[in-house]
């Protein structure tokens, strides 16, 4: 569809396929062995241990203190200096939905094939979207969106390239950098330079393995933060999300340990995929993108063995794999591939 056609198209809700739809997989493969091993998301298989959640997190409306504690924890964890405002929301998705209402953009560019909810949210708000192949092409956008590292291929933009881009973009424009998968490579984050022209989105659920909580953060300047809070409205984040998120974000030792475990898992998974004849086309610390002419057959074979991966209707040679965690999950994946371990 051309840009002109796309802009003329009616604004019907778009159907976007996501990972994690185990219920669909169960219906399609009723004979698969259970429980399913879900590798269709980029969520860490090592959840942050939840100690007892104070009853007040459930029985009271989340108050300013609880929100501030989580936001301060996020600021510290993400390396945001004092002049960067941090806003808590119910997952990155809450911000993806909000941002088009803050910036009445005409031309919205995303970098490459990426997480589909961004462009869809802007189209639903009436913007025209285009997919840039290189960062430079985004300089002409009113709003540019870069998922970094990119989902699903793991492409990384150096932070300097992103801050330079903001200087080349027209006045009043904004760059949104979705760092949902940045937790294990903090040195590449642009969080420290977030501001009026550079909005950074961070996901809590992925690296901390707790996506059901619905917690994410936007880093920006004070003026954008105020408008974001107004758009989100009061009590948009649950008490349990704030209660779990604040101490977890302060636990740098746990995150460092997870980084090391995920690095080992990535090495092991890459080796397994290659033994199965798939090519590693990319990846980030929480997922790998494999490429194969046989991708569709592998998807089916793995499903039949109770292992759900993420395929891409637009890229039929691709399969994305999240990381197994428990030893028995690794054993099932190895067995499903039928190529032996190590």
């Amino acid at each position: 569809m051309s840009l002109a056609e796309r802009c003329a198209a009616p604004l019907a809700p778009e159907r976007i396929i996501h990972g994690g739809a185990l219920d669909c997989a169960r219906r399609r493969y009723p004979d698969a062995p259970t429980p399913w091993l879900d590798l269709s998301t980029g969520v860490s298989p090592r959840p942050y241990p939840i100690s007892t959640i104070a009853p007040e997190a459930f029985t009271r409306l989340p108050d300013e203190n609880a929100i501030a504690a989580a936001e301060q924890g996020a600021a510290a964890a993400y390396g945001a200096p004092p002049h960067v405002a941090v806003v808590a929301g119910a997952g990155t998705q809450a911000f993806i939905k909000c941002l088009p209402r803050l910036f009445p953009a005409r031309r919205v560019g995303t970098l490459g094939f990426t997480y589909a909810e961004h462009a869809a949210a802007w189209r639903a708000a009436g913007a025209c979207t285009f997919e840039a192949q290189v960062l430079d092409e985004l300089a002409k956008a009113d709003v540019a969106i870069v998922v970094n590292p990119n989902n699903p291929d793991g492409r990384l933009c150096p932070p300097e390239a992103l801050t330079q881009l903001t200087r080349r973009m027209p006045p009043g424009s904004v760059l949104i950098v979705d760092e949902a998968f940045m937790d294990f490579s903090p040195q590449l984050s642009v969080a420290p330079t977030a501001g009026a022209k550079l909005i950074v989105l961070r996901s809590f659920g992925k690296a901390y393995g707790l996506p059901g909580l619905r917690l994410g953060f936007a880093l920006c300047d004070a003026a954008v933060a105020e408008r974001l809070r107004a758009e989100l409205g009061p009590w948009s984040v649950s008490g349990p999300a704030l209660a779990v998120g604040a101490p977890a974000l302060a636990d740098a030792a746990w995150l460092a340990e997870s980084a090391s475990i995920m690095q080992d898992a990535v090495t092991r998974l890459d080796a397994l995929l290659e033994r199965a004849g798939l090519t590693i086309a990319g990846g980030a610390p929480l997922f790998r993108l494999a490429q194969s002419d046989q991708a569709a057959a592998w998807f089916e074979r793995l499903c039949a063995r109770g292992v759900l991966t993420r395929r891409f209707p637009e890229r039929r040679q691709w399969l994305r794999f999240g990381l197994p965690g428990a030893p028995q999950d690794w054993a099932r994946l190895v067995q499903a591939f039928g190529v032996g371990d190590d």
Copy 2:
């Protein structure tokens, strides 16, 4: 401010005062005895007992099955027949924010002095709002909003009057009935007649005493439901909210027991307020509205004794009281009033 002035006013975010802001009270009354007794909300003091929440509610993205289970539980609890669609959201507030984007309304009427977030959300979307004094005045609105029972005065509209109103409203118009406090008087709900022209909002957190979870429902027809889901986006409700909400909504015996306990509490609170010289100006099963020339003094006196109530800058003679729960909370309230019990 006249209607014309209000419509010409810039769309700056409005500051709305809510109950539950214990952190502000703590700052203003640092010497008050702790813990504070928070009677500033209309949340039940008897929370639904939370048994263990399955780890998957935290470690996985909420899937279709979890959402469907909560929505089916809500449909049964609220008496919604099969043709009424039920949509889960992160509290009534999520729907209040969404609805103005579904209906490009010009004239939006609310019935009487009521929960302020409704009109504010429509004004932020560019609509003109007016406050109707009687139900009939809403017949000319593109969108009419009735909080029933009303917060804070407990005014009740009979269900027939509301369904009749939808028939008198212009084509394409819609009536939104916010039944956040309807759980203990289900016979007065219009949930069974929800549809294209009548959208019903229900709050889970209030009657079940778990507002921190952020769970609410919209009842409407299938077409509105599809648009609401698109506006809310994927995973807008947390896993814990769905996991706790579904079984709680199916527990009719617990709700009936709570209704009886709240009825006794209301009787006791009304007697106490009257002994203190306040007039009962209204109320619903989870809160009472008291009126007094001394309301401001009572507010201060109760705060100094660590009891937070809800005052209204626009109605200085009013104080709203939530219900105490534990015996020691009753004892503190009685002592704070200084008028003795029973």
